[in-house]
Amino acid sequence: MPLTVDIIKRLQGFTLNVSLTAEAGVTALLGASGSGKSMTLRCIAGVEKPDEGRIVLDGRVLYDSGEKIDLPPQERRVGYLFQRYALFPNMTVLQNIDAGLSRELDARIRQAKRESLISRFRLDGLEQRYPRELSGGQMQRVALCRMLAGEPEAILLDEPFAALDSHLRWQLEGEVKQTLNEFSGVALLVSHDRGEVYRMSQRVCVLNDGASEPVLGTTELFDHPRTLQAALITGCKNCVPAEILSQGKIHVPDWNARLACSQAADGAITHTGIRAHYILPCAAEVENALYCRVVEAADDVFSRVLTLLPAGGTGTIRVELSRAAGERFIPGSEGWFCLPKEHIMLLRETHER
């Protein structure tokens, strides 16, 4: 049961232009803040209206500007998990769940559903509490429970962990992941956190200044981003302009380097990138070894981050080593560093749609 979205919405400062198809399972919308991720979800849920386009869920047209179809959110059967959960503060847990059962009119079925939901989300004993009396984890469970009570055909999760600290985050991520695994329809997860996206989704659509890139498998995107924007959003720290010399050979002016690469290049390549943790100290004769001076060295929580300036180059390279391996590098020291050719990514600056 796929969800097809093809919409344009003009907003102040930028235009949202999203085109994606999400199959059952978790598809992530990854983008920097302000790239239009939440607005996309709102258009799908029907609480915001696109300027033009079409949204189809499992053959059901939710929105079509041409045919003047615009189902109200009440009839779309699309669940929405809000960033701060948006539990109704004046209602108890039970009443909040009941709000999710608004479409169910038969009182007996309602009662049965209510009971099974409460035990499924481990909310027994909390029924009469108000949202303000719940912990963060309990609030999330109520929100998930309320969203799924109406048996939506697709669910949308808007940065569900953005407001949490890292300790609680892991715990809640596990719960949401389990819920998502049990859900048979389309789930869209909005996030700006690449780790979250990598752990939770099977497919990713990168959103960049309101424009969507083609949907890719999550591991494929992280291993082989195709555009500069995708490389940056997936956390690549070293992205510089590059030109193709011949198949398997590129020139990087910023680093004053000619590098071998294993990825096949097409003509449109404008940049190259390599992730900071793939770069290692090495001997002089190794392939793709650059002689660099350490400009800066700083300790991160579990790693040592070096900023290198290649000999004759103008742009720096960021390297992340383990604490032990990085110890001997201090600002001013020099040495050979290897950029393994299998990790050199070839990127395009802009994407065609």
């Binding site: 959110p73 929405y80 109704f88 004046n90 709000a99 009570a149």
Partner: protein, 234 residues
């Protein structure tokens, strides 16, 4: 002291009841109309909103006698609408209790409307979105989500409306007049006995209206405080 007691015993209390009744009915009217108007204005475009808001707020900033003037223009028996209402429907506004209610409602309405609108605009839009995606009807969302969230603002608006309607003088005196036992409110009675030089009776009425009004405001503060427990002081 004995003198005061004697006056209190023989005092004509009709102004108290007329004022309370007027205040109550006007408040109920303003409550629904104010909420309705607030919703309507919130949905308007920018320009229409500024215009409608200005119009609805006017009775609050104009002298009440100006409102009284317009009300007379409409409802006077010598005017088309007033004479039509009287002749066709036997509804008489001028010099009647209905006039009291109308005058008090018009003057107090902006307080309800403005407070309700301010309270509604504070409601987290995500709560409304949540209600919609959960399949709640717009009506259910309004009564079960928006109104409770906007509760403190709506309640304080209602109380202020009541207090204002209770003490209305200018427009009431023009439209309804001061007929003892019929349209004679407390504020009109005070003005009347002062003109007769009866400062003692006037003072007693002043004390009565002071106690009621002060009590209302204190009540409102208690209510607002208990509702805002989790908001930090600054």
């Amino acid at each position: 002291m004995q003198e005061i007691w004697d006056i209190l015993k023989t005092l004509d209390y009709s102004p108290l009841w007329i004022s309370l009744k007027t205040g109550l009915v006007a408040t109920v009217l303003c409550f629904f109309l104010g909420i309705w108007a607030a919703r309507r204005v919130m949905r308007m475009g920018k320009r229409a909103k500024a215009f409608a808001d200005g119009l609805l707020t006017l009775p609050m900033v104009l002298p009440p006698t100006v409102a009284g003037f317009f009300l007379l223009l409409i409802f006077s028996l010598r005017r088309p609408i007033g004479s039509f209402l009287y002749q066709e429907l036997s509804i008489k506004v001028v010099q009647t209790w209905l006039g009291c209610i109308l005058a008090a409602s018009v003057i107090a309405f902006p307080l309800m409307y403005r407070n309700a609108r301010a309270a509604f605009e504070q409601v987290d839009i995500e709560l409304i979105y949540a209600g919609r995606t959960l399949g709640m009807s717009e009506r259910a969302i309004f009564w079960r989500v928006v109104l409770p969230s906007a509760g403190p603002g709506v309640v304080s608006g209602t109380i202020l409306t009541f207090a204002r309607a209770l003490g209305e003088y200018g427009a009431t005196s023009m439209l309804a007049g001061n007929i003892a036992g019929k349209t004679g409110t407390i504020s009109q009675r005070i003005a009347m006995v002062i003109q007769n030089g009866d400062y003692l009776t006037a003072g007693l009425w002043v004390i009565i209206i002071l106690l009621i009004s002060f009590g209302i405001v204190v009540l409102m503060n208690f209510f607002a405080d208990s509702k805002m427990k989790n908001i930090k002081k600054w």
